[in-house]
Subunit: 196 residues, 2 copies
């Protein structure tokens, strides 16, 4: 598989049980919201000692930050299909799968926690910076292939695509048709204005 | 002002104090989440009798539904600037103002409640249907003016624009530049693919 995990460049940080601790952290967030999340609760459910968690993360926010940025549950591969259109369509399909799949409750809880607490704004920025670092390769390859002007802001394109998925899945809560990804990407690449 | 409130076609439904009851409902939702919202709490803070609320709305979900769809806090005028580009840019600016203004906590709480509870999916659909009914006029006028093919799906364009605002404001939590609206609309109208 030629795809790269956006975070796989990073050396793993955290104890051996890190992924299990992240999973439990996000589960508890999904179950009881930010207020229901405690380091004690994570330790108990993950079957590790509280001090193990505190050795790596000084407080609940640091743990939640690591879980949101590093958990495999919220990761998706960055596609490399050979064309900008193919890459963006595949990216939208993977976002739809993430938001409608088994981890969708976790995604909603993480988004809600981040969006509703100004004190977690750094976390939103870290998450987005991390993911964008992976996605940036899609745009760099497109510029190299001559498919995209280098004046185009990748952040803006990601906002449009990820936002459209969020609006359709989370807000409308309507089924996502098979051609949704292609339709969204067609508008972003070619525009919807009538040139006829 | 030539703008129309999307919901102003509707006859008002609810008691005299409806807007005050909606406001309190959304405030309590923002303060304590869905679980912290009770009809009793709304009645107490709004200074009305519990039976007044139950006369109009059979339960908490019906009240929350009415508040989200009917409250003036979550409304915004649909622009009519004379061009599709102008209308869409103004729509994006009004969404940014809604999501960054005084009611932003209420918006986040309402989105989180709707997104995290399958039992409130009807509410998301009702809200979106109501708002789209207002925004549809923007697209109909653009088709009449020859700016837009009638094969373009207005829902898709609204998903892209509203989603981009949400991603930038709620997820990145980065300041929204003055030209954000124009940049987003430029991509949606003309596309970002290099045609040079």
């Amino acid at each position: 598989m030629a795809d790269k995990l956006p975070g796989s460049r990073r050396p793993g940080r955290g104890p051996r049980q890190a992924q299990e601790i992240y999973r439990v952290t996000l589960e508890l967030l999904a179950d009881g919201g930010y207020d229901g999340l405690t380091v004690e609760g994570v330790a108990a459910r993950a079957g590790v000692n509280k001090t193990t968690i505190y050795r790596w993360w000084p407080d609940k926010d640091a743990l939640l930050g690591a879980a949101i940025v590093q958990s495999a549950l919220l990761r998706f591969d960055v596609p490399d299909t050979g064309s900008l259109r193919g890459d963006l369509s595949e990216l939208v399909r993977r976002l739809v799968a993430l938001m409608t799949g088994a981890a969708s409750g976790v995604v909603v809880a993480a988004l809600a926690a981040v969006a509703s607490r100004p004190s977690l704004a750094w976390l939103a920025r870290e998450f987005v910076t991390d993911r964008l670092a992976g996605e940036r390769a899609v745009f760099e390859r497109a510029v190299e292939r001559g498919e995209l002007s280098d004046s185009v802001d990748p952040e803006l394109i990601v906002d449009l695509l990820a936002g459209a998925v969020w609006s359709r899945v989370m807000l409308r809560q309507s089924p996502v048709s098979d051609d949704f990804a292609d339709q969204v990407v067609e508008v972003v690449l070619r525009g919807c204005a009538d040139r006829g």
